[in-house]
Symmetry: C2
Subunit: 130 residues, 2 copies
Amino acid sequence: MAGKPTRTARMPTSPGSACPISPVVDIVFSRWTTPILWTLNEHGRQRFVELERRIATITPKVLTQRLRQLERDGLIVRTYHPEVPPRVEYEISDLGRSLAPLFAHLADWVTTNLDTVEQARHDYDVRAAR
Amino acid sequence: MAGKPTRTARMPTSPGSACPISPVVDIVFSRWTTPILWTLNEHGRQRFVELERRIATITPKVLTQRLRQLERDGLIVRTYHPEVPPRVEYEISDLGRSLAPLFAHLADWVTTNLDTVEQARHDYDVRAAR
DNA sequence: CAGTATCCGGCCGGATACTG
DNA sequence: CAGTATCCGGCCGGATACTG
């Protein structure tokens, strides 16, 4: 046994204990996962380039990474057609689709409350400046 | 005017264009915000140390940072009582409370689907290993 | 008590170039 | 077309120590 378990490294120290929704946050809500899932849900089965175009500011590397993670988590399905040139299609899975009502709910919250958040930020900043 | 605007720096390049829920993701779903909001919603108005204890694995620095952000976004309210020793209380705001049904919805999704996700990961890893 | 100060490592994501 | 390879910077978050 080599050395005591130094606590230095980034152990996940998941906040899960205090919060039952932490798992879904890890799975679904990273920087690019929601745009990807949203696009697949809206426009159906799509090829890599189509996603790249629709999401626009994403780079191919990152798109690949996120797609792989989503596939691993079972939220999307990847289909490879061995042709020349190669053709790959992505579509949302049933599990992924089960997030749709949730996403709609979130979109509602945004329409209703985003202004309030921005106003709050503004007020806070004004108060902080004085 | 010094130099052309080099595109090197991390411009946010927000994915928002493609996805109407990106804003709420930025506001609510970072590593520690959901545990904090959840705790405040469950146990009501609390002092700094109480939050620290309930969330357990969070450090004071990070707790302060997240609380400030949530206060700025108008999701929580901070009350400072100038006593000795000082007393500060945090409570969820009306805006913060408006997230409660959403959180319940998310918690439901977790109970229903977390097993499926873990199974999918397992299957993916097995397939990848071969 | 309720924080702040300092240091620091890792990881995520971006830029750019290249490939079966 | 659908990616991979390489390099790299910033930021988030953690560890530790200190303060009005």
